[in-house]
Amino acid sequence: AQSVTQLDSHVSVSEGTPVLLRCNYSSSYSPSLFWYVQHPNKGLQLLLKYTSAATLVKGINGFEAEFKKSETSFHLTKPSAHMSDAAEYFCVVSDMIIQGAQKLVFGQGTRLTINP
């Protein structure tokens, strides 16, 4: 079975500084990987996804992630944090495919706090 490990349960950065949220995955095949964001009292929103195309994936709101097969990592970065980035972030790996739909396995989440 596929799995993901988010290495930090909580990350705190100052506004305007870089953001790094770490994720390692375990997969027996070339996986699809995702980052989702969950703002307080709001639904999950897809930030970006990797599906075996370019290894550097750009997402919304200035976020990007790099797929590194040799390190089994898919870390999320942003050059400059904004107060609105404060949220919970989930690294997600696709598991099996059922009738064309991927089952998703979620990491434990990383809470990102932005300090003014």
């Binding site: 699809s32 995702f34 989702y36 709001k42 639904g43 999950l44 897809l46 996804k49 599906t51 989930f90 495919i97 059922i98 009738q99 064309g100 739909a101 991927q102 089952k103 998703l104 396995v105 979620f106 990491g107 434990q108 989440g109």
Partner: protein, 114 residues
């Protein structure tokens, strides 16, 4: 993208009662997924609901506790039966995009059992 509406958005229920959560999608989808997010935790898949057949439950979840209906391609319900405080969670429904490479989520139902 799909637009998913969940009802209710939140509820406070007495232990021993049941709550049915509705999920409405603005397009026809074959598969729908139900997740649970316990307080401070990540999302765990409860079951996969396919229209016209029995739902498939993940390990640790059973139909008697979480019965699911899927009457058509745009609608599903999840019932949380005989609730206890341990069932206090956010419940989310999800559907895949047409290519099966992305998932869309409803806003979730925040359930508190007292």
């Amino acid at each position: 993208s799909a637009v998913i509406s969940q009802k209710p958005s939140r509820d406070i229920c007495q232990r021993g009662t049941s709550l049915t959560i509705q999920c409405q999608v603005d397009s026809q989808v074959t598969m729908m997924f139900w997740y649970r997010q316990q307080p401070g935790q990540s999302l765990t898949l409860i079951a996969t609901a396919n229209q016209g057949s029995e739902a498939t439950y993940e390990s640790g979840f059973v139909i008697d506790k979480f019965p699911i209906s899927r009457p058509n391609l745009t609608f599903s319900t999840l019932t949380v039966s005989n609730m206890s405080p341990e069932d206090s969670s956010i419940y989310l429904c999800s559907v895949p995009d047409g290519g099966g490479t992305e998932a869309f989520f409803g806003q979730g139902t925040r359930l508190t059992v007292v």
